[in-house]
Every structure is written in structure tokens, then in C-alpha cells.
């Protein structure tokens, strides 16, 4: 293991996200602990830069090995919008806003992307990405999940949206799960 005698602290206040990532950590035998501290989010078009800044800032402030993540929904015909600002865009114009923007678009390709950064004291952060490709459907379907899940259908699925899948099914494709698996593989190499 890469000096992983201590636990890794996950900088998130989102309990659902913590539980999801803790499950993946267990598969790899990584000791994950909650940092119980919000992450500092900078404005950037690059998820990796946002996650890396958050991990380093929390690591410098707490002197612990920290992992921080960021994710977004990227619609190709909209130049990647809403991208890193997905949470804000969901709160303001929502799924109907995305559908309206795409009404006359021929290309409905989209992806969920995640970046996960790990930072140890006195070191620079290292970052891993995960992506799930799919398409924006014409009408919201399903009531599970959150955010843009009801309008996103992954290419690898069976035609259902993320909001029509159980958490376990969705996690098979999950951009966040993929990024964390890469990190945990690297940590336990």
C-alpha cells in the first residue's frame, strides 16, 4: 500500500454520498472516515481542478490525508453545459430547462463525469476521473436518484433512466464509483 497506514478522510457533508463511497472503500480494504467538513469549491470548467483544489485546501487545513470529489452533467449539444455548475443549474432551471434547450437538437448525447482527488500533507493532489456516457431522453422518467437522473439514460443500460434504477443498479455504471475505484486501486497497489 502507498503509505496507507492511516485512514483516508472524505471531505463531504453529504451522508448519502459518504455511504455510497464507504461501500466501495470496503471492497478495497481502504479505511475511509468522514472529515465532517464542507469542501471549498472554486469556479472552473475542469472538475479535476475543482476536486484537486478542495482536497489540497482541506488537507492543508486539517493535516490529514484527504479525498474530495466533484461531478457534473455534460450535454454535448450545449457545449458541455451545465458541467461543473450542475447543482446550481438544477436548482434554477431544472430538468425542464435542459429539455427546452434541447428541443430542436439532433444530438442528445450527454455524460455524467466525476473527478476524485487525494492529497497527503506536504504533497500535491493526485486525481482520477470517471465517466458514464448516455443520452438525454425526451421526457423525465422515474422518481429515484436526484438531480438530472430522470432525464439521463446510460448507453450501457437497458433503456431505463438513472431515476428508474435502484441505487445498486445505478452504482454499477456510476461515474463517481468509477473514479473512486481508480483511486482505491492506486492506493492499494
Amino acid at each position: 500500500m502507498r503509505g496507507l497506514e492511516t485512514a483516508v478522510y472524505f471531505a463531504t457533508l453529504n451522508k448519502g454520498k459518504y455511504a455510497e463511497v464507504a461501500e466501495v472503500a470496503t471492497e478495497f480494504g481502504v479505511r475511509l472516515k468522514p472529515l465532517r467538513r464542507g469542501k471549498m469549491e472554486i469556479q472552473s470548467d475542469d472538475l479535476r481542478e475543482i476536486a484537486s483544489f478542495a482536497a489540497k485546501e482541506a488537507c492543508v487545513a486539517t493535516l490529514r490525508p484527504v479525498v474530495a470529489d466533484d461531478s457534473g452533467f455534460f450535454v454535448h449539444a450545449l457545449g458541455g453545459f451545465p458541467g461543473p455548475y450542475s447543482a446550481y443549474v438544477f436548482r434554477t432551471i431544472g430538468n425542464n430547462g435542459i429539455l427546452r434547450l434541447l428541443r430542436s437538437a439532433g444530438n442528445r448525447a450527454a455524460s455524467f463525469q466525476a473527478a476524485v482527488a487525494f492529497c497527503k500533507p506536504n504533497a500535491e493532489p493526485i486525481c482520477f476521473s470517471g465517466t458514464v456516457n448516455g443520452a438525454v431522453v425526451r421526457r423525465p422518467k422515474g422518481i429515484r436518484g436526484f438531480g438530472f437522473d430522470p432525464i439521463f439514460m446510460p448507453n450501457e443500460g437497458d433503456g431505463r433512466t438513472f431515476a428508474e434504477m435502484s441505487a445498486k443498479e445505478k452504482n454499477r455504471f456510476s461515474h463517481r464509483g468509477r473514479a473512486f475505484r481508480k483511486l482505491f486501486e492506486w492506493l492499494t497497489m
Copy 2:
């Protein structure tokens, strides 16, 4: 003057913006200098928080009295969208995206808003705001200015959009000019 024996350093790399603000500073006899350093922008729904963080971060890093600003375009029927993320939204979905989102909206009210924060070493930032109210027109008009100027018609104007006005005319209503005037008044009180 409030301890303004020294110059005030404006944290921006945008030369057009610097020139605009320098003109206002001259009216008040404030010595403005460029900090020649980008500002750090955090993610927040609140322009004042973004400007205050940027001013404090630059002040701590340079040990100089620093002013930093942030501004956004707020469309009422869209829950304030695009707000603090206006630059990103303009780069991705642009004016046509806003017009599409508003196609069936009865209420086309919108505003440009600015926040300007000033921070001296060993002090907390103080922040001032400026707003210009208006409406989103149905088709882009005019070729001056930048960003959402071609679709914004200020209430106090004569029916032209910001992009149909000279820089001087636009500055009479300008959200940024208003916020900086408040700061410079306070500094020279």
C-alpha cells in the same frame, strides 16, 4: 479618508474592466492600481461572498489593500439563473439559450448585479452592491458591449439594449459603476 494614504489595488486581469473602473476612481480622487493577478473565484449563489473571498485571498497573499469584484445576469423567471455563473453560461448556451428558456415566459424581468469588496491587511472585507433592472428582449439587438448585453434592455433607458449603447451611455446605468461609486464614496468619506 479612511486610511487611504496608499493606493488601492484592483485584482483583475481584464484590461477593459480596469480602464472603466479607473475612470470612476479618478472622479473620487482614489489612486487605483492594477494588482496584475487573477482573482480566486469560489462557487456561491451570492456575488458578495464571491467578491469578498477574492478580495481577502488576494489581500492576504499580497499584503496590499485590494479591491475585487464579481457580477452576474439574473433572470427572475429562471430563479435568478444564470446569476454568478453568467460567464460560463454565456460561453456554453449563450444569448439564444436564455431566449429559448424564456420563450413561453410571461415575466421577462432581469437585472445585472455587481458586488465590489475591499480588504485591507489584517481586516475583514467590506462589500458594496450595484444593480440595474430591466427586461430580456425577444431578439438580440446591437453589437456593442459583451455577454448578455444584446438581450438586456434597462428600465431607465430609452428602449435600447446595452449592446446598442456606447460604453459611456451604458456606464451611466452600470451595475459595476454603481457598486464602485459606493465603495469610492465610503473610502473618501
